[in-house]
Amino acid sequence: MGAHVVVIGAGVAGCAAALEARKHGAEVTLVHRSVGATALSTGGALLDGGEEARGLLVERIGLVEAAGSYLLTTGAVQRMDLVMPSHERGEISGLVDRSVLVVGLDGFTGTSAPDLARRLERRGVRAAPARVQVPGLRMDRDLSAFALARHLDDVQVAGELAAAIPGGGHDLVALPPVFGLEQWREVGRILDETLTSPWFELLSSPPSVPGLRLQQNLMESLRIAGVRTLKADVKLVRLAGESITLVRAWDGEVAHDLEPDEVVLATGRFIGGGVSLDSGGRETLLGLELEVGSGDEILATGVEVDDELRPPGFANVRVAGAVRRSGSYALGQGGIGRAAAQGLRAGALASRSPGAKPSGPVRSIEAMPRPGQEGCLGCEVCSSVCPVLDRAAAVGTWYPGPRGLGTLSRSGPLLEAGGETLALCTLCGACSAMCPVGARNHETVAALRGRLLADSPDASPEPHRLIPEVLESSGNVYGSRLEPVEGPRRSDADLAFFPGCAMSYFERESAGAFVDLLESLGISFSVVDGVCCGGPLDVLGLAPSAEAIRHNRGAVEATGARTLVATCPRCVHRLSHDLDGIQVEHSLETLERLLPGSDVLDRIRENLAGRVVTYHDPCELGRYRGRYDGARRIMELVGVELVEMEHARERSACCGAGGGLRGVNPRLSREISRRRVAEAVETGAGALLTECPSCLHNLRTGRKRRQKIEVEDLTALLGRAATGSLS
């Protein structure tokens, strides 16, 4: 086997290095903690200082050679060597003396069609503006480019929009760059079929939809090449002498120890977080001290390297991209082409067969932490994954996206008036997982809600005001009397089952099936008669009362069990925090412990044979805790065939139930779940499984009657298979 190359950073430099090292036979792991900074580009590239990367960018990354000048949505013109295919026809010299229809979209202020048409006229293009309404939206203002692009990922909507664009009489149609975020190839085909003239998309300044598409292409090329990617934050490296022998990356829950022969440092400059100026100039991972220039030169601060791209004092590290001192794309020097070329060279050097085993004194270097919320760049990448922003316009609700919500923390008076909007966040954490500076947006939102509730309770939305009172008076979040879940009550159990509010209220059948499953496993267990774990308070940044904790501790101790299981990830999170000395696990963890080798397994397998399912990762299990594999291992064990949805695992999309949205805006919550169910239906699976009562309930709400897919908890399905009561 070749060398093990660990590449740190998923921008174009890191990806180029990984692809090149792979090509030379290395085993490659690419570690990245957020979206690569190439996502924050125009999606076009200059090759200044990076001619060697032309082949890679064209053949493997999907850019096209179309050197020239392009009109941006801002009205400016930028020179590009390579662009994404949808821009190719927009090269300005090719438009002279031709007639172009410039399309603006109602409610999308990112493009002013009349202004752009005037600017094209000045360059000798015969341009005319047109305005078109986007189908399926009930909002006529503040549409974000990302929300629009995701709306148009629905090819049917894109087709309707295309059909509404006036046809005939024009040589070309110029569109704003929002025609699909993930399905843009398919959307492009629809445009080809529907429009009567050839079309192109304008370029856009970052943050741009084409930039994100380019980043997707990079990740896709890694997958095709067989590069292992790991979404985790490198916290520490260990060295023997001058060589890195261990890279420790933290994925939020688990530390991954990688043992590299060579490391490629492609962590970017300030945006990527590879360089910090906060305590003099410093490279943030290895702690290299950097010289800081004056004036604009400050922006070129970076690592100096030797002829073989090594930083001083490190034998097996190669440096590529913006983390290196080599101009600044912010000053118009280099950029994607140069970073890619440096990546190629770093990858080739790193893939050479490993030399002698490193030796010398052992030491560790801890990485500098990221700035977090305070460091918000306003890059809007968070908007591209926000499930609320995605659907708010469809139900006519104004929503400014995660970054917009963050601005409330800067102003007391605005926060006081923003409670209603703040209450719409589902706390799914997708934005935080994407954030280049490591902002924990969803935690900030919860904290702001808590601050508002404490400082001006009257300005908090009613459901938020009521949660603490209702919990106090009824012991559950619904404020009604909950019938206890049926099942054994004993004082000598090995395992205690905590059903939680949502399961006892909405999903009693699932609770029953889980009890059946535990019974069929032949273990000694008891249902816990507790009160709400206090999880609903998390959405307000508050903690449960001491009384509630005491009650639940007593209820668990009454079963005699030292291990507690819940199917609700929120309960697991809360209880494991509050009940010291009791082992709290999620139902999937319990099953992974008990199911293999159990007597009932054969029966379950037999009854489930031939079933095709898809699986929805609950945010609070996945993104909150990094638990993705357990469910998949169980599904494999019981022999069901899993077809993944487009958004699975780390990229899982929210079901719409989180953050208390269902209580505040049920319509929006349902709209989000509809989108998720539609994605599940696309897979052709017979059942949409999950393992969270809130997700389960909301996905059931989002399923339309004509959609044949079953929505179930994984453990409930197993329970029914164990007792032979499958539908």
């Binding site: 202004d115 600017r119 700035p371």
Partner: protein
Amino acid sequence: MAEKVSDLVGSKLGSDAPGTTAHEPLPGSEDEGEVSWPEGLAGWEARALETRHGTRAGQVAGLGDLSRVCVCETVSDTELRFAVRRLFARTLDDLRRRTRMGMGPCQGSTCAPRASAILADELGLDPATADRLMVEFIRNRLRGRLAVVTHGGAAQEELIRSVQLGLAGEGE
């Protein structure tokens, strides 16, 4: 004290007219009764208008297009037009002083092109003049920023500059 000073100044200037500043409401402080907000305006957008325009906020909101131009500071199209028509704004810096437009983290990189288009529309400026006003504005915002770049502002500056490469007149 203000009253005594103005009386004193008045007497020095030989005027004995009674001072009215204590009774005369300033624009935006008049009692306009209950404000009727346009449908669909979020509470925080209304509050942003109130903090800047007082009791005239409802009047501003009712003027037209409520789309946000400056996302960082919640400034809408209609507020900028109000500032041109009623508050005599003639440059982007005027607009900034009257509305806070461009004073948020992105320092005008998103809103400057759109604000200059609005200014051009209201005042009948040609695109070249509008671009010149925008570039002037962007340059003014830059002054003073470099000094804080080494205190947590570097990433922001890097992004702002990258975006501004794509603003009319800057990238060419």
